[in-house]
Amino acid sequence: EADLRMTWYNDGNESEAMQALLDKFEKQNPDISVTLDVVPYKAILESLPVQLAAGDGPDIARVTDLGGLSKYYLDMTPYLENADYWRENFGPFLKWLDPDGDQISGFMTQLTVTGPYVNKTLFEQAGVAMPGEGATWDDWAKAVNEVAAKLDIPIPMAWDRSGHRVSGPAIAMGAKMFDDDGNPALVDDGLKSMATKLYDWHQDGTMAKELWGSVSGSTYLGANEDFANAQVVMYMSGSWQIPQFADKIGDAFDWWAVPAPCGTAACTGMPGGAALVAMKDSDHPEEVAKLMDFLAQEENLAEFYGKNLFIPGHLGLATGGVDFATDDPRAKHALETFANAVPGISPTAFDLQGYANNRVMFNALISRLGEAIVGELTLDQAFDRMTQDVEKQLAEKERGN
């Protein structure tokens, strides 16, 4: 007899699919009941760590700070019937959840890949050819500027204001993110070249300051509204936008996911996503493991990913393919594009995603870069501050541990 709590947040409607699975599980295991607590994302980010630290956390939670919270995760290995199934199918992601060990703590509810969308209809209207496979960021910048100029579109290019999003292009332009010892080294020439580009684009109007300039710190801002409203020619975001665009834009224009543009070092986006993890403090680790195991089964995950148009974080399904519940050709194309991008993702990107304190780096990057773009700092000052910020926070974190 166990009552399990799962803390969950929604980007769209995914709690419904999860609830369906939970209902199924409860039917099979009448002695275990599971309650799904849907919270605002803010709670996952800000409250959950405090609750976990205080020992008041849930049994299972859907988290995005994959490595940062790993000290609270349960190692389910002893409870799993078939740990190998997990290692086989979730191998690379397990590392994200436990960078320093080989615990099995959870699985990805969603794998995301960052990458750009373009408004293909605008290109057609403007009569400008879309840069093809292997085009660089500069090629795209030139093309979208042309389109925007012809059609009087206010924002040629927009990037999510997110450290995670810009890390892809940064790695593409040669950023290493870590030094040879594996310690974080955010600022290097690659990153600088990406940052400089971004900075220049904001100055020359390729990008609008609204996104990067209008909030402070690490606040996330997206341009999905503007993109959906055909105000943006190219929008650098990620795979998670697909269901939304399918819903909001529909066939109003052709929104097209394109492969990650290239830099000097690679043509890569960032992997990412949210994981469902089991918590160490749970009173019912066995039942938790049982539930997790159930959810992780291929047929259940397939149902879940399919319903929500999520790129599977399950290697078997990734190769086998998931039957996505959409008949929108644009959505289908986008899903394909992103799924195909996974193999091409740079190992640095994987390492960065797997690094427990990556959010410290992301935040430093984005907040300081934002300040530079609005002119509060020069780029050089911003780079210095980034380094300092990361150092300071990591030092604070080291204290007492």
Binding site: Y9, T35, V50, G55, E225, W240
Partner: protein, 357 residues
């Protein structure tokens, strides 16, 4: 120069305006202009919010925005399964027609005449505009409300608001009574203390309070939301200032009438402090109902969610769904407006006479 003095005089008259004597001076006109502008500025945004909350996501994105929520008309056309959206299209020859769109291919839209389904047209998408009518997107409300246990959250919110307000009113009025009616050792110290804590924004002691709540084992119970804010310095301050204005004779009369101190409190002072209590009640209800940051931290189980948490739960990591946000904002506004409607006469007379000086 003459202008300047005239101007000065009139500003003078405006600023000292006293009940006029029949004649309509232009300061009166200015007054009403100011008031009209005031209505626009104070009410306008809220009206705009309410109107916007009934718009579809597409309607929200539109620029320039329309005043009223509009929806595109669609029509059943013979030979097509789904209703087709209607556009006003300008054909190549310059004629305008209302056509239904079958599909859009690239920048060209394929359309039919609903009256004559066999006739199809090809129209560049720049030559058509959607035909719309007034339509309320009630799904902005029903959708998010459907997604969670609205009744349960509402109930929790009501419990929290009512119980917390009751406790707040009770203990604050008791404290204010003690501080205003009696002279005793330490009264000034306590008063300074109360005023001092008036200055502390709760945001900065969130974590320490959380630790206290944890050690009391109240996490995930409504008490965790109810109790911490119950002893508001503002409330004590407000009520005390008001009670100080009550005539002492009344208290002594009650003592002569053999009332116990507790009876004096609840049968004499409490009813007389009603205006101030109403004001505090309004503030308390408002605080509790709108409270978000604190419940977010101490409540993480859906059975104890308050409405604010529930309504915000659809705010994901990556998506700002304005249509839901606006609609849910309106939902949370409703009770406040209702309370305001009931108690506004207390607010408008209450604070004025509650000695907030």
């Amino acid at each position: 120069m003459a202008d300047a003095t005239a101007h000065r005089r009139t500003i003078g008259t405006l600023l000292t305006a006293r009940r006029g004597r029949g004649k309509l001076h232009w300061t009166d006109i200015f007054t009403y202009l100011y008031l009209a502008f005031g209505i626009l500025l104070m009410f306008g945004p809220v009206v705009w919010l309410v109107l916007s909350s009934f718009k579809t996501p597409a309607g929200l994105l539109e620029f320039p925005p329309t005043l009223l929520p509009l929806g595109q008309i669609s029509a059943e056309v013979e030979g097509y399964d789904k209703p087709l959206p209607i556009f006003r299209a300008t054909l190549e020859d310059g004629t305008e027609m209302e056509l239904a769109q079958v599909r859009r291919i690239g920048i060209v839209s394929q359309m039919v005449d609903p009256a004559n389904p066999d006739q199809t047209y090809k129209v560049p998408i720049s030559n058509r505009t959607p035909v719309r009518e007034f339509r309320i997107a009630s799904e902005n409300y029903t959708e998010p409300l459907r997604k969670f246990n609205f009744g349960g959250y509402l109930w929790n919110s009501i419990i929290v608001t009512v119980v917390a307000t009751a406790i707040t009113l009770l203990i604050n009025s008791m404290a204010a009574y003690g501080l205003s009616i009696y002279e005793f050792k330490g009264r000034n110290a306590i008063m300074i203390f109360v005023i001092g804590t008036l200055m502390i924004p709760i945001t900065v002691i969130l974590v320490p309070v959380y630790l206290v709540v944890t050690s009391l084992d109240m996490v995930n119970s409504l008490w965790a939301v109810i109790l911490p804010g119950a002893a508001t310095p503002t409330g004590v301050f407000l009520l005390r200032q008001y009670m100080l204005t009550l005539p002492r004779d009344l208290i002594e009369a009650a003592r002569m009438d053999r009332a116990s101190e507790w009876q004096i409190y609840w049968r004499v002072v409490l009813p007389l402090a009603l205006p101030a209590i109403a004001v505090l009640a309004i503030f308390s209800i408002m605080w509790r109902w709108n409270d978000f940051l604190w419940p977010l931290i101490v409540l993480n189980r859906s059975e104890v969610y308050t409405l604010q948490l529930g309504l915000n739960a659809f705010q994901g990591e990556l998506d700002v769904q304005w249509h839901y946000i606006l609609a849910m904002t309106v939902v949370t506004l409703i009770p406040v407006v209702v309370v305001f409607g009931f108690l506004q006469r207390f607010i408008t007379t209450g604070i004025a006479s509650s000695g907030m000086k």
